[in-house]
Amino acid sequence: MSLSIYNARILDPASGLDETGAVFIDRGKVKEISAGQTTAHADAKASIDAGGLCLAPGLVDLRVKTGEPGVEQKETLATASRSAVAGGITSFVVMPDTTPVIDDMALVRFITERAKTSAAARIYPAGALTTGLKGEAMAEIGLMANSGAVIFTNGDLPVANASILKRAMAYAASLGATIMSRPDERALSGSGVMNAGELAGRMGLSGIPIEAEWIGAMRDTALAEATGCTLIMDQVSTPRTIEIANAARERGAKVFTTAAAHSFFFNELDVGDYLTYCKVNPPFRDEATRLGLIDALKRGEIDAVVSAHDPQPPEEKRLPFGEAAFGAAGLETVLPAMLSLVHDGPLSLLEALAPVTCRPADMLGLPQGRLAANAPADLVLFDPGKPWLCEREYLRSRSTNSPFDGRRLQGRVLRTFVAGEEVFTHESIA
């Protein structure tokens, strides 16, 4: 089945292409990109007039949590994938902190198989770095890698013991495996529930200090440098953490950084009257830090932006702030959050798309995340300016704990394709 999408504003951050044209898709792959073409390819079996709207590579998301296996009432791979494609995300990595923990090859294969049979998007498992995520013993990194695990991580709680982390990094480096770790000195941040500072003090909430992230980043980059391991620093939340990464890179360390899409959008004041949907880790920081993070993104120093999707059902969120679970549902709001940096911020469309398409794909060595001949036909068609009101009851995730609930957003996904198949169509055009 071949398809021509024409009269589209074609955006390919990998090559810098931003032109009106047409894309020809055949057998799940992009066959041809015809810049300037405003009519359908004559030999296509089907065609779509994009009406001048944006056509970009499907988004690649390095950090998604679901509840499968074990806590399916939060989210399954299938429900997460439906939410993902509604947000234009066509590939995502699922975290290993499930029940049981994804720490052996059978469980890695379970995820891959379940994803194949039930999910609308491409799903890649992350393997646990340590057995049971306990931070004590190295998990079977090599066997899991051979079974399809794309990165290794200790999830929300980084390995506390530097010696264990150093050995895991050295071992992973010898296999060419990539480790993703949250820079976080838990001895400092452990009891915190929101950004440390004046507001936390006034609200009587314990704080998560920024220096907990800096110390974690200094330790992790030093170990990455010492071992030659490829390290993705997961969800950095301050500009100084980026400086620490930059310094390590200058010395030759293979260090990447990611940031959560919501951290560019919210600051600590959004916690307001103890709104638990705004309880995330790392927490929303102060306004100067948020702006500093946007500057770092503009300079290209943040390699990838993630949804940090962490579905939590009402019983985990309808609690006093200190007792509520961390986490925000984020799959459907990554693109609008990035577009807000175009509409109200300093980014160009291509600059906003690169950290959610080609850059994360490159970090994993995946061929998607770009619009190029022979790349997988994972595409998203979106209207960049379309205003909409985010209401959680209309989100597709099984848990709708979104801090964007009630926010006016701009930019809406209209169609999403995975391997040339349309997997999402917005109701306005269906």
């Binding site: 507001l199 003090g201 006034r202 009587g204 609690l319």
Partner: protein, 315 residues
């Protein structure tokens, strides 16, 4: 009763925090409380403005003093009072704060008095119920009736609030009393100075209305009209936040010698319960400068006023 000549109405549904109250609101509450205090002293039974009303004491954290104070206040005004120490009951069975609130709400009480160990707990609850919610202390956030009773005690003792130098010393970081009292006194024009060891002194106390925050108790005491000592939980003193009890007492304990640095007519306060010999010498706690028992007395009066305003229809 002092009736304001100007048009004024107490326009609050709940009392969750001092934040959100105006100086006029506070004056109104204190005036009413003053009358209740005088009535009690004169042995006059006040009008039963809460007759037929149901007031529920919902305490998720153990407390004898505050719960009894609210209970006595509500009974004096004729309310039917049910006191539920929830710490030991349904919460242990996995029932959440909201479930408990919804259940109680269905029984149509007129006021819920809530103490909870989590900051923001009463606020969360107030969103789910139809009646007035009074915060009786939430985590390390607020204890508004304490802030009001401290303000009333000071006003009665000194005849004014404005321009007074008030020093609050102790575990500021973990104290909901410090937050509420600082805010209330600042709103009424006092100059509040906070004093604590560095590890118990959070940043940003100026946003509460504090004039200064210092670790030098002796310096803070100079010229003070009021000294309020806060309770320091014993577990915070053994190495975690402070080296030892005796080291704390030597730098921050209120002794006779230290008190001499303040004004000669200085007044000593403590929200209780006290650690005698750790934050305050017994001789001072029981001395003539101390108004600690009057604070307890004013607690009942302030709570009568607050219940009257929130559950008794408009005054």
């Amino acid at each position: 009763m002092t009736r304001a000549a100007y048009h004024y109405s107490f326009d609050h549904e709940h009392l969750l925090s001092i934040e959100g109250l105006s100086p006029l609101d506070i004056t109104h509450i204190l005036d009413l409380a003053d009358n209740y205090a005088e009535a009690t002293r004169a042995g006059i039974r006040p009008d039963p403005v809460l007759k037929g009303k149901v007031v529920v004491n919902l305490f998720f954290e153990n407390s004898t003093r505050t719960m009894s104070s609210f209970e006595i206040a509500a009974r004096r005004l004729g309310a039917d009072v049910i006191s539920m120490p929830v710490a030991a009951s349904s919460v242990k069975k996995g029932e959440t704060l909201i479930d408990t609130a919804m259940t109680l709400n269905a029984m149509k009480p007129d006021a819920l008095i809530v103490r909870h160990s989590a900051s923001g707990g009463p606020k969360l609850l107030s969103r789910k119920v139809d009646c007035a919610v009074i915060n009786a202390g939430d985590g390390t956030h607020q204890h508004p009736t304490q802030g009001l009773l401290d303000t009333l005690t000071i006003r009665r003792t000194k005849g004014r609030i404005e321009g007074l130098k008030v020093v609050i010393c102790g575990d500021i970081a973990h104290s909901r009393v410090a937050r509420s009292t600082t805010q209330a006194l600042h709103l009424m024009g006092a100059e509040v100075h906070l004093c604590a060891p560095r590890t118990l002194l959070p940043s940003g106390t100026d946003t509460w209305g504090a004039a200064s925050a210092t670790t030098d108790f002796d310096k803070a005491l100079k010229g003070a009209d009021i000294v309020m000592m806060l309770r320091l939980q014993l577990e915070r003193m053994d190495g975690a936040f402070l080296p030892s009890r005796r080291e704390y007492f030597s730098f921050f304990g209120l002794t006779k010698e230290r008190l001499a640095l303040a004004k000669p007519d200085v007044t000593v306060m403590h929200p209780g319960p006290m650690n005698r010999g750790i934050e305050i010498e017994s001789a001072i706690a029981d001395g003539e400068q101390s108004v600690i028992t009057e604070q307890v007395e004013m607690g009942v009066a302030v709570r009568e006023a607050v219940l009257h305003l929130l559950a008794g229809g408009r005054a």
